[in-house]
């Protein structure tokens, strides 16, 4: 099972942390630091697997990571996961992020932590891989976004709120829903109520 998914930048600043096993707050921070320490020392052209990390689970623990530009994506898994499988799962995750945010960059992760979490939740549920098909994930996210939008619109209550939405200084909102150019089959959408 996947014990934790960590994203941090080249300086060790956490950008996303999701633990599927219970660790205390302090341990979580220590795990992030330890993992960063282990991963950041590695050269670019070495293997993507690491053993160790005493905090997270000792010998039955593997760190599988990928380094993209400014960000490290680290999956802490136990021995029941396939190394190469997880490695490609990271790739799927990043590609999905790229699709959802259109050219994802570190800032997207900072400002939309909640959305990144939602995307992750479609891929990994309770530490187990749920979905690996990028299109399917994007479809789910898209459908949910649309539904939420429409609900917000219908509920469309007081004009004040609507204007507040309009006035909001949210450069990311149009980007976020604009995944339209990618042709996605949206089989689920019509049946949503």
């Amino acid at each position: 099972m996947i014990k934790a998914i960590l994203i941090f930048n080249n300086h060790g600043k956490p950008r996303l942390s999701k633990f599927y096993q219970r660790y205390s707050e302090d341990t979580q921070q220590q795990i992030i630091r330890e993992t960063f320490h282990l991963v950041s020392k590695r050269d670019e052209n070495v293997c993507n697997f690491l053993e160790g990390g005493l905090l997270i689970g000792g010998s039955d623990n593997k760190l599988i990571y990928r380094h993209y530009a400014t960000l490290y994506f680290v999956f802490c898994v136990d021995s029941s996961e396939s190394e190469l499988g997880i490695l490609d799962l990271i790739q799927v995750f990043v590609e999905t992020l790229d699709k959802c945010f259109e050219n994802v960059c570190e800032l997207d992760l900072i400002f939309h932590v909640d959305k990144v979490h939602n995307i992750l939740a479609e891929m990994v549920m309770g530490g187990m891989v749920l979905e690996t098909n990028m299109n399917e994930i994007v479809t789910q996210i898209d459908a949910q976004n649309k539904l939420e939008k429409s609900e917000a619109g219908l509920a469309g209550a007081p004009a004040r709120a609507v204007s507040a939405v309009k006035n909001m200084n949210l450069p990311e909102i149009p980007r976020n829903i604009n995944i339209g150019d990618i042709s996605i089959k949206v089989p689920n959408l019509p049946t949503f109520k």
């Binding site: 302090d26 293997c47 053993e51 993209y68 400014t70 800032l107 979490h117 549920m125 749920l130």
Partner: protein, 1148 residues
Amino acid sequence: MSDVVERTLSALPGLLGQHDPGTGPGGAGGPARVSATSRLGSLIRSITALTSKHEEEKLIQQELTSLKATVSAPTTTLKLMKECMVRLIYCEMLGYESSFGYIHAIKLAQQGNLLEKRVGYLAVSLFLHENHELLLLLVNTVVKDLQSTNLVEVCMALTVVSQIFPREMIPAVLPLIEDKLQHSKEIIRRKAVQALYKFYLIAPNQVQHIHDKFRKALCDRDAGVMAASLHIYLQMIKENSSGYKDLTGSFVTILKQVVGGKLSSDFNYHSVPAPWLQIQLLRILGLLGKDDPRTSELMYDVLDESLRRAEINHNITYAILFECVQTIYTIYPKSELLEKAAKCIGKFVLSPKINLKYLGLKALTYVIQQDPNLALQHQMTIIECLDHPDPIIKRETLELLYRITNGQNVIVIVQKMLDYLKESKEEYAIINLVAKVAELAEKYAPNNEWFIQTMNAVFSVGGDVVHPDIPNNFLRLLAEGFDDGKEDHQLRMYAVQSYLSLLGEEDALYPQKFLQVMSWVLGEYFSLVTDVDPEVILTKLHSLLKKTYVTSETKAWIMAAVTKIASHTSCSETVDKLIQEFSSSLDTCIRQYAFELKHLCEDKALMKNLLPFDASCNDMVVDASLSFLDGFVAEGLGRGAAPYKPHHQRQEEKLSQEKALNFEPYGLSFASSVSSSGVTGRQSPTGLSFGSDTSGNSAETGHKETNTLKLEGVRKLWGKEGYLPKKEKVGKENEPQTVSCGSLLAGQAGDPPVLRSDQGASLTEEDKEKQQLASTLFVGLGSSAGVSLMGKADTATQKFKRKSKINETQHSEEASDFKSSAASDFGPLLDTAPINTEDSEESTHTRSRKASLCSSDIVEDNLAFETPQSLKKSVLDDRLSDNRVSQSSLFADSNIEIFQPSPSAQCESASETLLVPSLPEELQELPHSEVLELHQSDALALYLCKAWTDDSLLLTVLISNKTTSALNAVNLVFEETEHFQILESPTHQFPVIEAQSLEHCQKCVRMNKICTQGILSGSVSYQSEMETRLEFSVTLSLMDFIRPMEMTTEDFGKLWLSLSNDVKQNIKMSSSQDSLSAALNTLQQKLKLHIVDIIGNEGILACQLLPSVPCLLHCRTHSGMLAVWFRSPCAALPDGLLYQCQKVMGES
């Protein structure tokens, strides 16, 4: 991806610039209107601008304060709340606790619209953990959302359930989630399966009944749902592969279809069909086929096909290949497949891609035992990998080498490992590898020099992170030696030499563990090296002792070594210097050692005896009974010293004596004595704990003694005052106790062990001295050596400990045996003995003295009995009745009438010529009620008596035949009721009751359903001239089934927390019991509760409903009220007890 960097860097200022600083956290306008993004933006911007961790902390704290104000403001809209949550998530991610927001996250999940709800759920799943108490508040929301018609809400609920859900609330949602398995949308079904997987992990029992639903999920028409169910199956098969062998065919078929491309292309990843699904299936097959030729047979084909298909050159195909290879090597082997798998491994190992090389090495490591030749084929690659720039590859290679080490290659391999260790800084790698080196060195060492050198390297490289087993094993090896004495000698000599040269190096820093090993070896075997003057070694050790980096634990080792060396040299200047220097050391341990050394040096012969050469492995014979001190003890006893009592006995005695002291002067009236004890309780609320504190001290014997003496003094005083006409008795009574009760006892009971252990135990009077001696003894063994490292010596110490413990328990067992035997011996006497007229007074006083049912007291009393012949009859009688009452004191004064064999009753019974219902002997000793007449007819009389044993209520029915002819076939039948249960059978048949005689039967009764009072009815039928039936009924109270439950305060605390049924009530206290202890005494005496502890104005009590339902009470006094708080696993018990408490408190 490198363009991402550039984009990020170029976008950063622009993006941040978009946010007007005016809308930042301080924005004066309507804060509710400020969007979170801009606030989050400015937060992040300011954090990025910061340079130190400290500044960040300050900033975040500010942010949290403002967030706290916002979220708790009633005007905050859900929308704003959502934004706050996002910021809170950010702060939590940075490691700042924001617990104030947790409840709001739950609220948001509950009340918000979809968008807000989603953030709420997300925040909950990030903030809380499974056991968090707030999580219970989420359950309702989850249930509601699971029933929602909105799919998104259902999805969110399922997601949060699979992330965190309180285990005890699973039943609340389980049926809903089960329903979702039939949902029309595959995504819902899939998430439902995942949620069930989570339940399976945390509470397998709760989902046991839906295993067939898992099977349905496995056969789901949607591959995604099927894939999700594989998680469950993988887990279940891991735990118990034999239970799922029947599914092998299905898994094989599924894999065949997947590999054959039968799935829709949606599942393809880089044109590989559902690779993750394949990996999962291969793992399951591996588990199923392990060591099972028949099952393995089924999967050969599909594995072959998988290998064949996975040819596209992509990462993910290698992932499948790797799984295939692992599966092939796990299941029952088939040579054809093995060959192919070996080829695959070759592909991995030889691949230029590092990831694949890593996996190739891993696979090689995995298969090396089965197929060592494979390693030979790739030996060149392996050698190359040893010098690979990636330390992970190196480490993996070493792991591989470790598996193929043998006597011939050990030197090279260990050298490689040590090389790696010297470069590595990673703690995990060091611990891991050091253990391997040590293991290999021990197993395959070619010669002594190499072994010692290698171990030296292990200790110096491993530093203090090495596993403690390593030095332990090494020293044991040295000490125990091998078969060959000469080898041993050489090994030890070489070790000493090498350590001497290591210590000779200037300014070398060694890890503590290494120094400890060195000092032990030097101390033990220094004399093997003949060409070095012991003085030189001592100087070296001495200089080590002065080093600041040496910890005090290590110093203890060094001192032990010095002591050992000193014992084999005549006088040494260094030793003298050392003693002088460290006798004033601030480190008390070291100072202690120095003093010991000093004293030992004064008696060289003793020292030599104490520290024999090379005896670390010899078993030590420890005289745990300390019989050599018998004479000393006898002398002490002869001088009038009190005999030794074990700690617990003293403590109990002290408790009871405290009461005795309070009670005796006021013994005339029970109530007043109670209140007097209450006064003491009030005056020093900590009195009790203080008492136990002092008795916890090992050096309190003297203190204790005075206590005992004082008590006896008081008693005597009262005797002389003529309070009770038993002056002489008292005197006599004390005599056998203080004189040598031990020998008397031995003579009488013919039970020497009692004597021995008694005397042995009494020695611990010099507890302290003994301990010192013991520690010196073990220090002598090489402190050290003995205590923490050497296995043998270690067991010796343990043996010592264990022995003494056994002795102690034996002692107490024997004592209790003795007690009971004494009791039963005197039991029959009771009937004939004339009853002391002062019985009642005496009993009041004894009862109060023995309120805690302290057995030691009884033992003591019984000891006093041991001279019945020599004692005056009256004394005996007195003591007997005393004893008798103390046994029943448990029930004394309770609302149940106790049958006291009073003189008048006896007279009556004497006058009545026959058919007096007297109890059978075995019952007489038990606390029992008066014999109750149930029915009286011409022919038959029916009596009943309740006896309260420790574990049941015994109902004795006595049937007397008043006629002059025998009665045949008398049947006793108890009717069944819902409240009570008669153990064994509810009927009893007397085949015949002779004329003018009495028969009895006993039945154990349990309370099945709690009630304060219930009626148990039954009937007796018999044949005389015609069938006659007599009906009767008995009233049983809850109190018949309540027994005190003895426990310690800690146990109480633990149990308290584990119990859930709570009842709290204030009970008014009457004026006669205005103090807590008085009230508790009332409860103890009338309700048979056990007082566990009294602290200040709080008291804790425990009792149990037979057979074993505990009920705990916590009492507190305030303004004339007693606040009682009950807890019990049984809901009805507290209520019943409360009623009883109210009753007895009202009565008194």
